[in-house]
Symmetry: C2
Subunit: 305 residues, 2 copies
């Protein structure tokens, strides 16, 4: 049994490789919901959708999100209504959000609804939203405080970050199955996702960090930082705002209380010795996944003892 | 100033002709909202949308509803989620429903939102939903009681009707502008719509029937029944359930307390004398509108004293 902690695009790409090596039913993925946002009255779970769409093979691989070949007629029409349409919502994709919103109103949980969505997509992987409670990642910049997606998508992560806030973290409970998935796994993989707003959110949910420390599973991280830069996204600005070194080492140190092994990129091979001083089993591999072969090769390194 | 009472397709077609003869800003249309329905958490106003889309020239003329050339990707995807997708919701059309639902949640009224939608569509006609209050037309058949749209669209109006119920009629107030539009008009046109579920709903709203009796406007009706059959829809089953004769005469009698003039089809010319005995100014014309010329010609007859 393997459990992965995941954000969006980076994690989803890595997991595509992993599912080529392990049976879908042996894989649980705990997904960040700090990015969840309400737009046009719809509950949108960006990371959950990226993970499910990617694993179901329907994601728009160029964008990394949304459904391949989707159209944007509804959104274009909303724009004519004067609506702010900075967040990409495709016509097919909208069905997911309408469905989710309606089911939430009917009293179902994100966990239940995500499981239903996985069934529709024919996905055997267990996708677990990290929490069914309200949790919102906010970013403070000189422009003010804003929802993470507003910072990331609308402002294209341009502004320097003063601080990151997890609204709801103090009360959010892990969703059913999350702690067990960590405690009962043989391997826990911390995907190459943003350590602050993708993994850090999951870690902030009550009991998760503790379960990672207590589990007998081998906990393996994959560095999202290569040669001092994030593969994708604003992880550098995020880490800097926390005073964390923007490097594979900085990330490993951030995870060091629960990590057993860490996979770094060949470009960071020089940091191996320093990382081993953290007590980690360090592997060096190509972590910049372009082809499916790259993804599978990286997954092999992660699973290798 | 002209005020029209309208249902969906029949009224919208007639109004297309009327707008060729009168200035848009001189026309107010009071539209039935008894068909309004919530689907997938969205507030849908079928008749309001048919009227606005038709007058804006974007309606799918073959279907009579929806937007020409619209796609149904979202609905097709909802179907995969096991959702009941009997009601046609196009991708562009969805923007209207998302917008309306969101604005309602923000506390705006149907009247205000409809006015905003008209602005976006570049429509100068004042489209007034009959009421901003909850009003639901339900149909009782041997299968049970159901929402009018469920009867009309899902069951294709097949079943015999035992009774029609207007839920909310006892408390629904006319929306702002409705009574004044009737009282201040020179001409009030009762469009060729279903006398029970399109016009009857409007008439049942507090004060409307009384305003029609009190107004100095010439009140002209157009028969939706030709040669004993409705031009479109289940008006025959509806009238029968009320014990009203399914004929131009039956409709005129149903409206006789406020009607000054009535336009009947050439096929019903033989009923002219009987209708005149109701005290009506009766005109005979082609009421089956196929071309734009037909619509304009019928509008001319309606406006002619």
């Amino acid at each position: 049994m393997i459990t992965a902690l995941a954000g969006g695009v980076g994690a989803a790409r890595f997991l595509t490789g992993l599912t080529k090596l392990v049976k879908e039913e042996d894989l649980s993925v705990v997904v960040n919901t700090g990015d969840d946002i309400e737009l046009f009255g719809l509950h949108i779970s960006p990371d959950v959708d990226i993970v499910t769409y990617t694993l179901a093979g329907i994601v728009d691989e160029v964008k990394g999100w949304g459904i391949r070949g989707d159209t944007f007629r509804c959104l274009e029409t909303l724009r004519k209504h004067g609506e702010d349409t900075w967040f990409g919502l495709g016509d097919r994709d909208l069905a997911t959000h309408l469905y989710r919103t309606q089911r939430l109103k009917q009293g179902f949980t994100l966990t239940q609804i995500t499981s239903e969505i996985c069934d529709v997509l024919g996905l055997g992987v267990k996708v677990l939203p990290m929490s069914n409670d309200k949790f919102e990642t906010r970013v403070k910049t000189r422009e003010g405080s804003m929802h993470f997606e507003e910072y990331f998508v609308r402002r294209q992560a341009k502004d320097e970050i003063l601080s990151v806030e997890f609204v709801g973290a103090a009360t959010a409970k892990p969703s059913p199955g999350v702690l067990d998935a960590i405690l009962d796994a043989e391997t826990v993989v911390v995907c190459p996702s943003n350590p602050v707003v993708s993994i850090g959110t999951i870690l902030s949910v009550d009991g998760v960090r503790d379960a990672l420390k207590r589990t007998n599973a081998r906990v393996v991280g994959v560095s999202p930082i290569v040669a001092g830069l994030p593969i994708k996204g604003p992880a550098d600005k995020m880490l800097r705002s926390l005073g964390v070194e923007v490097s594979a080492f900085g990330v490993a140190e951030f995870y060091s209380d629960f990590l057993d092994a860490f996979v770094i990129d060949t470009k960071d091979a020089g940091a191996k010795g320093r990382l081993e001083q953290l007590g980690l089993d360090v592997k060096v591999a190509n972590t910049v996944m372009k082809s499916l072969e790259d993804k599978v090769a990286l997954a092999k390194v992660v699973l290798q003892h």
